[in-house]
């Protein structure tokens, strides 16, 4: 176990290093490059030169890379081009807002999807199973932002039941009562997306197990069906489900860019889109790296978790997923 843990850890660090390298290369291929990101705008050429020197931007590129990485590790993400605001200052609040939105949607879809998937696996092709199939087809084929717009048109413009957009109503106290109605529509959109994948996944994961020999044995010795499903099958079926949840962790941070844009939710995804329009590379780089860290961490945790619940993985060389 220790060896597997270390190997996966090193692998994750390597990938993280490569991501930072690619991100850095992208900054440097951007028009204007890092000089545009870090220098105070509107300086004379002389002064700009001095500041570039002070910031180390006249150094060779490898040295710049090391310094940039060092800065990042200390939490210095650089400054915005416009207004020269520290990136960290605009970034961190949006991370929290995204987590609220995604956390609620994710939790909701899990407590609906997993029991539903289990139910469907025991009654294949029943009405509920067909409904789930329709939902997952729609969820995979429907543009989420379109669904969001339709919900806005129906529930806020036509019926006037729910607020159109934003996280809080302006001029009112920023408490949970203000937040909840704003959450309903974006959470609905996101939940449909998650649901589409998770119902299908937990169903097929259960089916995979339900037709194995030990389940047949359990049935053959007269065990009640309920016990077969929940005691014997579910345990093994949950393993791949847990892994997928770990792999989906990144979606919690990065997956909502469209929904956030539609509903004007002040989260990280919307910030990313806005900053892309404004060509604020320093913010883009910071968010890219931040999501990469979370994704790699999620993958790492998923693999370790998998190896703990299914010890065969450790013996099979590298983690099962990458094969």
């Amino acid at each position: 176990m220790r060896e597997y843990f270390l190997r996966r850890l090193l692998q994750s660090l390597l990938v993280l290093f490569l991501v930072s390298l690619v991100t850095f290369a992208l900054i440097h291929s951007a028009p204007g490059g890092p000089v545009r990101i870090y220098l105070t705008p509107g300086l004379s050429q002389e002064a700009a030169k001095v500041q570039a020197h002070n910031l180390g931007l006249d150094q060779p590129i490898p040295i710049q890379y090391v310094r940039w990485l060092g800065d990042l590790l200390q939490g210095n993400f650089g400054y915005t081009f416009k207004n020269h605001i520290p990136v960290a200052k605009i970034l961190w609040p949006t991370v929290g807002n995204t987590l609220i939105l995604m956390g609620v949607a994710w939790f909701l879809s899990l407590i609906i999807a997993i029991p539903w998937g289990i139910y469907n696996s025991t009654r294949e092709y029943c009405l509920s199973d067909q409904t789930a199939a329709v939902i997952s087809y729609l969820g995979f084929a429907m543009p989420t932002f379109w669904f969001g717009i339709l919900l806005q048109e129906l529930f806020s413009l036509k019926l006037n039941w729910l607020p159109l957009s934003d996280m809080y109503t302006m001029g009112q106290a920023r408490n949970i009562l203000n937040l909840l109605p704003h959450l309903v529509l974006p959470v609905t959109v996101l939940t449909l997306g998650f649901l589409a994948a998770y119902v299908k996944y937990s169903r097929s994961s259960m089916l995979e197990v339900l037709f194995q020999d030990y389940i047949r044995t359990a049935r053959a010795k007269g065990m009640p069906e309920r016990r077969v499903v929940f005691r014997h099958a579910l345990r093994n079926a949950l393993i791949p489900i847990i892994t997928v949840l770990g792999l989906d962790l990144p979606i919690l941070v990065g997956g909502a860019a469209l929904t956030e844009s539609v509903f004007n939710w002040p989260g990280m995804g919307r910030l990313f889109v806005e900053m892309a329009m404004a060509r604020e590379y320093s913010v883009l780089m910071a968010i890219t790296l931040l999501t990469a860290v979370i994704v790699i961490l999620g993958n790492f945790l998923a693999d370790i978790l998998y190896a703990i619940v299914d010890p065969r993985v450790q013996l099979a060389g590298r983690g099962g997923r990458s094969v």
């Binding site: 992208l26 379109w146 717009i149 413009l157 590379y281 999501t291 990469a292």
Partner: protein
């Protein structure tokens, strides 16, 4: 492919270098491709998907002749016309542009992006996967870490980032989308190649002195085509959705060119006065992507009949 009850004929065909049994086969022998095609035709969803897709392809190809108006023509005197206003079948937008014509021309963009992204990324993915799986070792490690790197940034972010840096044009959009979606195919092909590498016909080819390149492109890729085709089909839908999303955010297709995603972002601004405007483009995207996904699933179950074999067993179990 082992589940297909055809005896030795697919393998025999391959070891002779003939691939799937072609015209030289005895008349009774049905080729793998034809069997799959028959199974495909028995799947109503897949056939419906194919018909719908063909319908859109024809609409896109002949948009110039079908469209009653120039999609970019601004006519402020005929702005905001409702549904069913004479020649403007679906009405006009706030600038008086004909919505039906814009939908038609947008289908060109969506389908072109969908097909070319799928083609290019499948090409890249197959090449990388094949080389990794065949040679293994350092090459494999290098490419698989590259896959990890690409997979560790949300795709939408990566696309937005690259569009922000390199600007957006139609060709660039296709390149960027293709460049960021080859990983799935690469993994898939690599997995198949890892298995195939150990087979006897590859060993035989090597013993005969066949070059690596020829073994990969001539002998092994044939045996990976089925999953590649399925993946490519599903990728068309993904690319159409990505294009719509990026154009909706204002980073993809730029005016005067038009696309469904762009139309939606326009419609969102006027949803108070003209809510129907947002319905059509989204519906088009949904229908096309559904059609493509149905086709993909149809091909999947047509070439991988294992599920068909398993189903009756399940019913007996009940």
């Amino acid at each position: 492919m082992s589940g297909i009850p055809l005896g030795e004929s697919p393998l025999a065909g391959n070891s002779l270098g003939g691939g799937n049994p072609g015209p030289e086969s005895a008349p009774q022998v049905v080729s793998l491709g034809r069997m799959a095609w028959r199974r495909f035709l028995r799947n109503p969803f897949a056939v419906a998907g194919l018909i719908v897709l063909l319908f859109f392809v024809i609409a896109a190809l002949f948009a110039r002749f079908i469209a009653p108006f120039n999609p970019a023509r601004i006519d402020l005197l005929a702005a905001n016309l409702p549904l069913g206003s004479g020649a403007h079948i679906l009405g006009t937008d706030e600038l008086g542009r004909d919505i039906f014509s814009r939908l038609l021309y947008s289908s060109q963009v969506s389908l072109l992006v969908g097909f070319s992204v799928a083609f290019v990324s499948v090409f890249i993915g197959t090449l990388i996967g094949a080389v990794s799986g065949y040679f293994g070792g350092l090459i494999d490690t290098f490419f698989m870490r590259m896959v990890d790197v690409f997979n560790s940034v949300p795709l939408l972010f990566l696309n937005i980032l690259m569009l922000a840096i390199f600007g957006s044009s139609f060709v660039l959009l296709i390149c960027i989308l293709a460049f960021t979606s080859w990983m799935g195919v690469a993994r898939l092909v690599r997995g198949t190649f890892l298995q195939l590498r150990e087979t006897q016909y590859v060993e035989a080819a090597k013993a005969l002195g066949t070059s690596n390149w020829r073994i990969i492109t001539y002998h092994m890729i044939r045996n990976a085509t089925a999953p590649i085709i399925v993946n490519a089909t599903l990728m068309i839908g993904g690319a159409i959705l990505s294009e719509a999303a990026l154009s909706f955010l204002g980073l993809g297709i730029q005016p005067p060119q038009t696309s469904w995603g762009q139309m939606l972002s326009n419609a969102q601004q006027y949803m108070l006065t003209d809510p129907l405007q947002a319905v059509y483009p989204g519906l088009c995207i949904l229908v096309v992507v559904l059609a493509v996904n149905f086709i993909g699933d149809g091909i999947q179950s047509a070439i991988d009949p294992r599920r068909k074999v398993r189903r009756p067993r399940r019913r007996l179990g009940r």
